[in-house]
């Protein structure tokens, strides 16, 4: 892969990455095509639409929702062409609002949501959301009433979490494919809410 920016010499970082890739491919240890494939998977094949399909189905089908909450690994494949592997689904209710973080590094349910955004990996988010989640959520424009527990899930080990947000009001009878359009990525991390039908129509 070439460096497209010719106005500046490549950084030490870029030179070292290229040297490493060259070494590994010359020794036959990596197939450069597999690297291209992984980048394409990361940027084009996985993403939050996968999670949104799961959420919309859970909103529309109580039996699916029950099975999803019990054992997400077994049911995500019914709907999307990628396994959830080690994912656990956390249901938001009027009593509990769930939000996910990885304070120790950057663990994220990337199989179902795609690559994590920069803010998720930022020191501010990682350090603060466990200690002052309400303030951090407010920075995302989300206010959770104090009568609702804010439960922060620190993804520290093998499991990954996906938040099942509450179904917005005024969506009774909506088709699953329309419900999907209401599901934002941040609503599945816990730093946002789904769109209302009005907001989705306007966007």
């Amino acid at each position: 892969m070439s460096d497209q920016n010719h106005t500046e010499p490549p950084s030490d970082f870029a030179l070292r990455v290229r040297a490493l890739e060259t070494l590994l491919s010359e020794r036959g240890l990596v197939d450069p095509a597999a690297l291209d494939e992984l980048i394409d998977i990361a940027e084009a094949r996985i993403g939050p639409r996968t999670g949104a399909k799961i959420v919309a189905r859970a909103w529309a089908d109580p039996d699916y929702k029950r099975r999803l909450l019990e054992n997400a690994q077994e049911v995500t494949e019914e709907l999307v062409d990628i396994t959830g592997a080690n994912v656990i689904v956390l249901e938001n209710t009027p009593d509990v609002h769930n939000v996910i973080v990885c304070t120790l590094c950057s663990c994220y349910p990337f199989r179902l949501l795609g690559m994590s955004p920069g803010w998720y990996k930022s020191y501010a988010y990682r350090s603060r959301v466990v200690r002052e989640p309400r303030k951090v959520l407010a920075e995302f424009g989300l206010t959770v009433p104090t009568s609702t527990e804010v439960r922060v899930w620190d993804s520290n080990a093998e499991l990954r979490y996906l938040v099942l947000p509450m179904r917005p009001e005024g969506t009774e009878g909506m088709a699953e494919t329309d419900l999907e359009k209401l599901v934002t990525r941040n609503s599945m991390i816990g730093t946002g809410r789904p769109l209302t039908p009005g907001e989705a129509g306007a966007s």
Partner: protein, 215 residues
């Protein structure tokens, strides 16, 4: 290890830039992401080691190096330890296999976590209060510093998983894992926000003792 990576609860990092959506800023970042992920998939090294090597750096370097660039030194060192250097002519890594590009997507898409071997019965039960150990190990661990010595409630038993602390030092070992919830007050004291909690996976060895319920 007590490293800068274990930053839960630290002050001073300021507001979250909620508009920062950047995943990759340049092609070199894409390549190092892919080189590392492929190396893990190929069995060159395990993921716990990658975390250990990334956190085991000068704290100022950790804080001042862009996210993906922190990965590079780790990957270089792991290959160096495996004997793959410009100076050597080694081209074999025991236990590793090469995944061709056209086989990658199917393997990725259908990944399942293998069943772990059985262990003796778990020691703790759902509903019990348990205290986290206070020991700080100098090597990799997944118990954040802010939970050491704290008491939480076992909410769920999750099963048997690879023990990250051991795998990071190339010791294959599995442990029972519980999902334990800690109230904001227990962790942060009187300055905590109202009605908040942290829930986290706790490997059995992280627990020092069962605690009788107060009240």
């Amino acid at each position: 290890m007590d490293g800068i990576h274990d930053m839960g609860g630290f002050h001073g990092f300021g507001r979250v830039d909620t508009t920062n959506e950047t995943t990759f800023a340049n092609d070199a970042q894409r390549r190092i992401f892919a080189i590392n992920m492929l190396s893990v998939m190929q069995g060159v090294y395990n993921i716990d080691k990658t975390r250990y090597y990334m956190e085991n750096v000068d704290p100022s370097d950790y804080l001042n190096t862009p996210y993906w660039e922190r990965w590079l030194g780790m990957v270089e060192q792991l290959y160096r330890e495996a004997g793959i250097t410009a100076e050597s002519d080694q081209s074999e890594i025991p236990g590793a296999r090469r995944i061709p590009g056209d086989k990658l997507w199917d393997g990725f898409r259908t990944l399942r976590i293998p069943e772990p071997p059985p262990l003796p019965a778990p020691i703790y039960s759902v509903g019990e209060s348990v205290r986290m150990r206070r020991d700080s190990v100098p090597t990799h661990t997944r118990l954040p510093h802010f939970l050491r010595g704290r008491v939480g409630r076992v909410e769920d038993y999750k099963g048997i998983f690879r023990f990250a602390d051991a795998y990071a030092s190339d010791r294959p070992e599995n442990q029972h894992v519980y999902s334990v919830r800690f109230t904001g007050d227990e962790i942060w004291g009187s300055g905590c926000e109202e009605n908040t909690s942290v829930q986290i996976e706790i490997y059995e060895p992280y627990i020092s003792e069962r605690v009788a319920h107060e009240n």
